[in-house]
Symmetry: C2
Subunit: 496 residues, 2 copies
């Protein structure tokens, strides 16, 4: 009966959380401009209620009793362990700190917007300095064993630690930098045809077809337009994705669509019987990103996929694509070229962008880097890892929203996602018979079923590390990504 | 400070209520099919929280103290009076009753759906019987002075009583029935051109143009499609309307669009400084309906309006309308003909549909009519008032959703709305200089400004009766509607 009380409480909290997600989705898709003020207030009220319900003493008592209970199933026990961990974390924050953080966030975000608009880092610096100080305090509040950054990383990627990430990013630095240099020296492929005129409506229909082919369930989801593509979930039976369409950049829609579709498939695959419980949630941001990246890059930027889909693309855009072969399309979708904007980066140089942010965040948390020195540090790193000169701060250190929200520790999950994706995909190729032949025939169901069975259906039952070991036989290993990248891009750029 | 505590609490409740409205809006417009189950659960959770917050003892104490305070402004005092009345009403329900009602509602609704589908009233009868018994019990719980129906009417139309409605509907019966007979005997006008092919996209654009002309603010609202048109509000700065489009019935979109636009203008005109308080809410369903009916019928089915808009209509649909004059369009939009479906009725015979439901609800609440005798009673009334033979129960007694939800006392507000509308419009014609000339020139702003000033901006500060007296100088008087109808339809049908 205690477990039922626990489940009921978490269901109620989930009802409010998912409702808040509906408010957020509407805000980004359909809300009229003037609705913003009251909408922000409504979201704040609901968020406050969630915090209140989740830190309620009664819930704490229930959790502690259940934690000592011998009568639970293994799944129940894991749910309790997870929730108790979250409960204890939430309880560490006192009201003053939460309010100060919330106030600083909103000031910092506004200052960031202004600073980016005016290309003036100095407008942002004092607010970011305050934010970093608060985040260092937050790390102390939350506690950590070795490194203050660990406390923040754990919020996005439970179990992620500086000690492990240092090793991982050392590999990125040593292996990927060298390989990208080789690629950059090779003859570039042509992707001009991707920037012809692609009418909006036809792009939309093409994107919907791609999602359907992935078996994204449109009876349990939908796609809409938004300025920045995202995926959000109101239950495993109602998972929404969004996309954006640029009429002179065909790439923008295609891979945002497949990427969000990958996130969407994960959410649709979570067990609805575990609604509101850890076992009904995604493992971590990194594992979530592994699903989007696997579909986007390993599948959607693969040759078999375009052998399957070039005809469909030609059907929608005959003028632009009738003379383009699957190979040409594939090569054009995998142009590697160093740049200074993260969100526009290719799948290899992308990780240098993350690496730079990781090193900066770590240094900020250690107190070894001061906010005032950030722009120079940033620009030097871009020169070092990407060989590019950052033209100005607006397109440099001010390009990302994350720090203005206080999201320190979020960026590494993007790289983790790609590396997990490569490792999962390598395993899928071994375990799903003739996987890429199937993809080449447009049959994506066997891959989805494998992901459902191996990853989606377990929710947060396993930690990221446990899941990775269970699925692939070993813990996260950067070699899988490096092998994938080397093989793929050696072929594309004729480096063999 | 007490008043601030009251306002803060009501703001919080409003945040949750408006959020629930977002969930409802999404459910009717964009939600994918499979999302229904969890969505219903989420709405139930939020509704429960609203009830909990609104019946909280602390709120009761605050209200009672404020009710005795001498320090309040008149507006504050009226807010407290209203909220205290609502609070006391909510407190009368015990948990068992609320749960039983909720359970009965969902069973009754399901039975109604099935019964209508199968044209089998017997499937519905036992559930409706249970519902009526509960509603009679609810009237006892709520209390009343003269008639149990009064207690239910008051929920939708505060202050409405059987004693007054009996007089009103007696007028409807004696005056309107006779006049409609005269109209029915006259030569019918041609509206075949309304049923030509009107492409969906063009209808949509035309409807948007009509809403813009009404000064519906699209920065504080939007229109979407739904099976049944409705208006919903998430704040005065975010008011959504929906419409439906039938390609072979031009009328369906036009007047649903103007009707919901009228509701929308009222919500957009409520004072946002009074968000969440009675003075920031609509007076009653009847007054709300007066705004939609005034725009739909007095304005949107008037000759000046079509003199202004026939050219626009022709621009969108030249093939269908180039040979149609404003007069022809106007006459075609005012076809009076008795029928057996309420939602398709013209603005005169509509009230017989309401009259029938009113008489039935009253008799059910008095215990003078039993559910098993409903179909025969219904059909006899339709014969008597409308002269039509109801073909079957699905298109007869089973046509409306209201009773299956337990909404007893709701129907009369539809007629009240039309009658208030006629009275308000008659006053507007006196007070707004050359009103109909302005309408004929497509200038609807003076009318909107008058409505804003006289009605919208006051929220619920006045009761319906007070408001009516303040705006028109007298309480609700059916003669205004009768005069409007006689003049308009005598001209249309050549009865002068």
């Amino acid at each position: 009966m205690k477990y039922k009380a626990y489940k009921d409480r978490l269901t109620k909290i989930a009802d409010i959380s998912y409702t808040t997600a509906v408010l957020g989705w509407d805000q980004e898709t359909y809300m009229p401009e003037k609705g913003a003020g009251f909408r922000a207030q409504q979201i704040a009220t609901l968020s406050g209620m969630i915090h209140e319900l989740f830190t309620d003493k009664e819930l704490g008592k229930t959790l502690n009793k259940l934690d000592n209970s011998k009568k639970l199933t293994e799944k129940q026990r894991r749910n309790i362990t997870q929730t108790l961990k979250d409960y204890k974390r939430q309880k560490k924050y006192n009201r003053e700190f939460v309010e100060l953080l919330s106030k600083t966030q909103s000031e910092c975000f506004q200052a960031w917007q202004q600073a980016r608009k005016e290309n003036n880092f100095k407008l942002y610096a004092p607010h970011l300095t305050k934010m970093i100080a608060l985040k260092r305090k937050e790390a102390e509040i939350l506690g950590y064993k070795k490194h203050p950054y660990d406390a923040l990383l754990d919020q996005y990627e439970p179990g992620a630690r500086v000690a492990d990430l240092d090793i991982l990013f050392k590999d990125v630095r040593s292996q990927l930098v060298a390989f990208v240099k080789k690629v950059a020296a090779a003859k570039q492929n042509d992707d001009k045809f991707m920037r012809l005129h692609y009418p909006k409506d036809k792009q939309w229909d093409f994107g919907i077809d791609l999602l359907k082919q992935m078996h994204y369930d449109f009876d349990a989801g939908r796609q809409d337009l938004s300025a920045h593509p995202f995926t959000t979930s109101f239950s495993p039976k109602d998972v929404r994705v969004t996309t954006r369409i640029s009429e002179n950049n065909f790439k923008s829609m295609i891979w945002s669509c497949i990427h969000e579709g990958g996130h969407g498939l994960y959410e649709q695959g979570l067990p609805d019987s575990e609604y509101g419980l850890p076992s009904g949630e995604a493992v971590s941001l990194g594992i979530h990103e592994s699903q989007s990246r696997l579909w986007e890059n390993m599948v959607g930027r693969g040759l078999p996929y375009w052998k399957a889909n070039i005809k469909l693309a030609r059907k929608y855009f005959p003028e632009n694509l009738n003379d383009i072969s699957a190979e040409q399309f594939w090569k054009a979708s995998n142009i590697v070229t160093p740049s200074f904007i993260r969100t526009e980066a290719d799948e290899l140089t992308y990780h240098f962008h993350i690496l730079i942010r990781y090193e900066i965040e770590k240094a900020l948390m250690e107190g070894k880097l001061e906010v005032k020195d950030l722009p120079a540090y940033w620009n030097a790193k871009y020169k070092e890892y990407l060989g590019v000169k950052v033209p100005n701060d607006a397109q440099g250190v001010l390009q990302d929203i994350h720090w203005s929200h206080g999201s320190i520790g979020y960026f590494p999950t993007y790289s983790l996602g790609s590396f997990y994706a490569a490792q999962f995909y390598a395993t899928a190729k071994k375990e799903v018979k003739s996987l890429e032949d199937k993809i080449e025939n447009g049959n994506l169901l066997p891959l989805l079923e494998w992901l459902r069975e191996k990853i989606h259906k377990h929710g947060k039952y396993y930690s990221a590390e446990e899941l990775c070991k269970k699925v692939t036989g070993e813990k996260l290993n950067f070699n899988y990504f490096m092998d994938y990248a080397t093989e793929k891009y050696s072929e594309i750029y004729g480096l063999k």
